[in-house]
C-alpha cells in the first residue's frame, strides 16, 4: 500500500505550498478556533454565555471601542492628508524613489524603540502626554504605510494621460482632478486599509505615549489576557476581527467601484 502511494507521489508545484498551508493551519486557523472556544468558557472551563453579557453590557467596552475607532479614523485621515501630497510630489521627481526610501527607513527600526524615543522628546519639550501625543505617535508610525502604496500607484500612472489631458486644454488642477486622483484610488484604498486596521488594534503606542491614560481596545484585550480573563479577552478579539473583516469588505467594495471609475475613463 505504502509503496503505491510513494510511486504515485510526484513533486509538483503544489507540493511547495504545503508547508505554508501547514503554517496557516497551525498558527492562524487553530488559534482562531481556540479563541472561539474560549469565548464560551468561564474560569472553570464550563460552557457559558456570561462573557458576552459581561462585554456587551459594560459601558466601558463601548467607550473603549468608540475611542479606538475614533483614533483609527483620525489617524487614517491625517495620514492620507499628509501622505498624498508627499507621494504625488515624489512621483514627479526623478530622485523620488530615493526620497521615499528615506520615509520608509524609520520603519526598519523597531516601532517600540521609536515610540519610546518619541516619548522622551515629548517629555523634554514639556508636552503633556495625552490624546494629542497618542495621535502623533500613531501618525508617525503608520505614515510610511500610507505613502508607500500611494507612491507606487501614482508613479505607475502612464504619463500620456497627463499629456493627453493637457493637449485637450485642461489646466493643471483639472489634470490632477480628472486623471491623477481617479487613477490613484486603488492606492488610496490600500493605504487606508494598511493604516486603519493596524491602528484600531494597536496597543503599545497608546500605552506609552499617554502613560496608560488613553486606553484603547488593544490595551483592553491585553489586560484581559494578562489577568487570566480569557473569555472576555476572546470576545474582544472576535469583535476586533469582525471590525477588520467589515473594513476589509468596505474597502474591497470601494476598490471594485474604483475599477469601474477607471474603466469609465476610457
Amino acid at each position: 500500500m505504502k509503496k503505491i502511494v510513494l510511486k504515485k507521489f510526484r513533486l509538483t508545484k503544489k507540493v511547495f505550498s504545503f508547508p505554508y498551508i501547514l503554517f496557516l493551519l497551525l498558527f492562524v486557523i487553530i488559534p482562531l478556533v481556540l479563541i472561539l472556544v474560549n469565548a464560551f468558557l468561564d474560569g472553570d472551563n464550563h460552557f457559558t454565555f456570561g462573557n458576552f453579557k459581561t462585554f456587551f453590557t459594560s459601558p466601558a467596552s463601548t467607550i473603549v471601542l468608540g475611542n479606538s475607532l475614533l483614533v483609527g479614523v483620525i489617524t487614517t485621515a491625517i495620514c492620507l492628508i499628509l501622505g498624498y501630497p508627499v507621494a504625488y510630489i515624489l512621483s514627479k521627481m526623478s530622485s523620488g524613489r530615493l526620497i521615499v526610501l528615506l520615509y520608509v527607513l524609520p520603519m526598519f527600526i523597531n516601532f517600540l524603540i521609536r515610540t519610546l524615543a518619541t516619548k522622551a522628546i515629548f517629555i523634554a519639550m514639556n508636552v503633556e502626554l495625552g490624546m494629542g501625543t497618542v495621535l502623533f505617535g500613531m501618525v508617525y508610525n503608520y505614515l510610511p504605510f500610507m505613502i508607500m502604496p500611494l507612491h507606487t500607484t501614482i508613479s505607475g500612472i502612464d504619463k500620456s494621460y497627463y499629456e493627453a489631458a493637457q493637449d485637450l486644454g485642461a489646466d493643471k488642477a483639472t489634470v490632477f482632478l480628472k486623471t491623477t486622483l481617479p487613477l490613484s484610488v486603488s492606492g488610496i484604498i490600500s493605504g487606508i486599509t494598511m493604516v486603519f486596521i493596524p491602528t484600531i488594534s494597536s496597543f503599545a503606542i497608546s500605552q506609552l505615549l499617554s502613560n496608560g491614560k488613553i486606553f484603547l481596545f488593544g490595551d483592553s484585550i491585553q489586560l484581559s489576557f494578562e489577568q487570566n480573563l480569557y473569555g472576555v479577552g476572546s470576545i474582544m478579539s472576535l469583535v476586533m476581527l469582525a471590525f477588520v473583516l467589515i473594513s476589509n469588505l468596505i474597502m474591497n467594495k470601494f476598490n471594485a467601484n474604483s475599477d469601474n471609475v477607471r474603466r469609465s475613463l476610457w
Binding site: 459581561t54 459594560s58 492628508i81 517629555i123 502613560n211 490595551d219 471609475v261 469609465s264
Partner: protein
C-alpha cells in the same frame, strides 16, 4: 480523494519527522540532567537577585551557589534562571502546567492561590524525606523557617503575620499552614515616593494618601503623579484613601483595621473605588509599572505610588552632590490624619520561595532556599535590588561579615538599619492582601472601566473629526459625481 489526502500527509509527516527531534532536543537541554551534572530551574521576578558585578569583583550569587553545591555534594550544578514580570503571568503559566521548575518566588496572595490549587510541596515533609541525605552531607538547613526548626533566620514578626493570616489555607478537604510551604525572601510596604522640593514633610503628614489625589491642590503636583498599572495595588491605594478621608460607603463605617479594609471586594466597594479612581484620573500623569523610578529621578513627575524597595533604590540614585542630599523620599502613610481624625493604613507584602510539585531536584531547591536565607547572602541580594530581605534584623546586625559588607558597599550601618522606609514597624496598621478568589474577575472588570475613563476629552477631537468628515464627504461626493458623469452610456 484519498490519494489527495495522502499527498497532503506526506510533507506533513516529513515536517513532523524533522521537527519532533528538534523539539525534543530543546526540551531535554532545558530540564534533563546529563551524566554527572544536576540541574536546578528557578523561576523568579526580574532583577530580584544579586547578579554580581565584574568591576567590583563580585560573583553572581547563583554561581556561588553552584560552587557551594559542588562542595557539599560533589556534583556539578547547572542553574537555569527564568523570570516573570507579574504574579499573574507566573500564575497563568504554573496553573496551566507550562512551567516545569524547581523553585518559584511569588507574592503571598499568589502563594495562597497555588497552595489552594494543591500545586506546592510541603517543605517540612520534604525535609524529613531528605533528612538521611542531608545527614550524609552534614547539613541541617537551620536558616529556613519552613522545616520545623523554628523561624530559622527569618524575622519572627513576619512569620507571625504569615501564620495569623495564612495559617489555615483550605485546599480541597485538607487544611494547610502556609509557613510550611514557603520561606519569605523579600518584604516591603506600599507608599509614596515623592520629590522633596515639591512635597514637604508637612504635606505628607497632613494629607497622607490624599497626596496621590492632589488633595493639597498644588499646581506643581497637578498631572505630575504616577499610579501603578497594577489592579491590586491601585485598588488598595483607593481603599486606603477612602478610609482616611471617610469616603467609604456607609455600610463599612464600623471597619477599623487595615486587614479588613484591603480585603473587601464586594460590588458596592468596587463601585466606590471605581468612582474614586475615575476622579483621580484628572490629577495624575498616568499609570506605570516600570518607568516610574526613572521619571521620578528625571523629575518628570513629583509623586509616584511605589513599592518600598523600588522607592529605596530610586532614593539611592537621587543623591545630589550640590546639596549633599537625596532629593527623593519615601513615605509609607501611618498615624492619624489631622483633618479627618481617621487612621492611615498601608499594605505589607512579602515574596517567598516555594517548591512546586514539578520539582525534579528537591535537594538543590531546599539547599538554595537555605543558602539565600544566610545573612551574608541575604544582605547581598538586598543591597543589590533595594528591597528589604526577610532575614531578621538582629541576625543581620550581629553578623560581622554582614556589617563589613554593608560598609564596603558605602552605607552607614546605623542608617541602613534605622531607615523607617526599609524597616517599618510591623503592626496592625499594615494589612496583608489575600487572594481575592473568584472576586478577582469583578475587580479586573472594575479596573477596565476605571482605565477607560468616562470618555476622551472631546473638544479637540470633535473639531478634528468634523474637519475630517467634511473632507471625506466632499471627496466621496466628488468621486461619485465623476463616476456617474463618466459612466459609459448604453448604446
Amino acid at each position: 480523494m484519498s490519494k489527495r489526502i495522502f499527498k497532503l500527509f506526506i510533507p506533513l509527516i516529513a515536517l513532523a519527522m524533522v521537527l519532533l527531534p528538534l523539539l525534543a532536543a530543546c526540551n531535554s537541554s532545558g530540564g534533563g540532567a546529563s551524566a554527572g551534572v544536576d540541574s536546578l530551574v528557578i523561576y523568579n521576578w526580574e532583577d530580584y537577585i544579586d547578579g554580581g558585578d565584574s568591576e567590583m569583583g563580585r560573583n553572581d550569587i547563583r554561581d556561588d551557589f553552584a560552587d557551594y553545591y559542588y562542595q557539599v555534594t560533589g556534583r556539578k550544578l547547572n542553574v537555569t534562571y527564568t523570570t516573570f514580570d507579574t504574579n499573574e503571568t507566573m500564575l497563568t503559566k504554573v496553573l496551566k502546567g507550562d512551567a516545569k521548575v524547581d523553585l518559584i518566588c511569588p507574592s503571598e496572595y499568589a502563594i495562597e492561590k497555588l497552595l489552594t490549587a494543591g500545586l506546592l510541596q510541603n517543605q517540612k515533609a520534604l525535609y524529613s524525606f531528605l533528612k538521611p541525605q542531608l545527614d550524609e552531607y552534614g547539613l541541617s538547613l537551620d536558616y529556613m523557617s519552613s522545616v520545623g526548626l523554628g523561624d530559622g533566620a527569618i524575622e519572627p514578626d513576619i512569620m507571625q503575620v504569615i501564620k495569623s493570616q495564612f495559617g489555615a489555607i483550605q485546599s480541597g478537604s485538607s487544611t494547610h499552614d502556609m509557613t510550611e510551604y514557603m520561606v519569605p525572601y523579600m518584604w516591603g510596604t506600599l507608599g509614596i515616593l515623592y520629590n522633596k522640593s515639591v512635597i514637604s514633610e508637612e504635606d505628607l503628614q497632613t494629607y497622607g494618601w490624599g497626596v496621590l489625589w492632589n488633595e493639597q491642590h498644588s499646581n506643581l503636583l497637578e498631572n505630575k503623579i504616577l499610579m501603578k498599572d497594577s489592579v491590586r495595588d491601585t485598588y488598595a491605594a483607593a481603599l486606603f484613601y477612602m478610609y482616611e478621608y471617610g469616603k467609604l460607603p456607609q455600610k463599612y463605617s464600623d471597619i477599623s483595621s487595615a486587614q479588613d479594609v484591603i480585603n473587601i471586594t464586594d460590588d458596592e466597594m468596587l463601585e466606590a473605588a471605581e468612582a474614586i479612581l475615575t476622579e483621580q484620573r484628572e490629577h495624575i500623569s498616568g499609570y506605570e509599572v516600570d518607568f516610574g523610578k526613572d521619571d521620578m529621578l528625571n523629575e518628570v513627575v513629583y509623586a509616584d505610588f511605589a513599592w518600598s524597595g523600588d522607592a529605596l533604590w530610586a532614593i539611592e540614585e537621587s543623591y545630589d552632590e550640590q546639596t549633599d542630599d537625596y532629593f527623593l523620599g519615601y513615605y509609607c502613610p501611618t498615624g492619624e490624619n489631622p483633618m479627618t481624625h481617621r487612621q492611615r493604613f498601608s499594605n505589607i507584602w512579602y515574596d517567598g520561595w516555594v517548591i512546586p510539585n514539578t520539582v525534579k531536584n528537591p535537594l538543590a531547591a531546599m539547599l538554595f532556599i537555605d543558602y539565600m536565607c544566610r545573612p551574608q547572602n541575604a544582605i547581598r541580594n538586598s543591597i543589590e535590588i533595594g528591597y528589604t530581605c526577610a532575614v531578621a534584623k538582629d541576625r543581620l546586625s550581629s553578623a560581622e561579615d554582614v556589617l563589613s559588607y554593608i560598609e564596603e558597599q558605602e552605607y552607614d550601618v546605623d542608617e541602613y538599619f534605622d531607615d523607617i522606609g526599609r524597616y517599618p514597624t510591623i503592626d496592625s496598621s499594615l494589612g496583608v492582601m489575600r487572594d481575592f478568589g473568584p472576586r478577582n474577575d469583578a475587580l479586573v472588570n472594575m479596573w477596565q472601566r476605571a482605565k477607560a475613563g468616562s470618555a476622551v476629552n472631546l473638544s479637540l477631537l470633535i473639531i478634528i473629526a468634523v474637519i475630517v468628515a467634511v473632507i471625506v464627504i466632499a471627496l466621496s461626493a466628488y468621486f461619485i459625481a465623476q463616476a456617474l458623469k463618466l459612466r459609459p452610456r448604453k448604446l
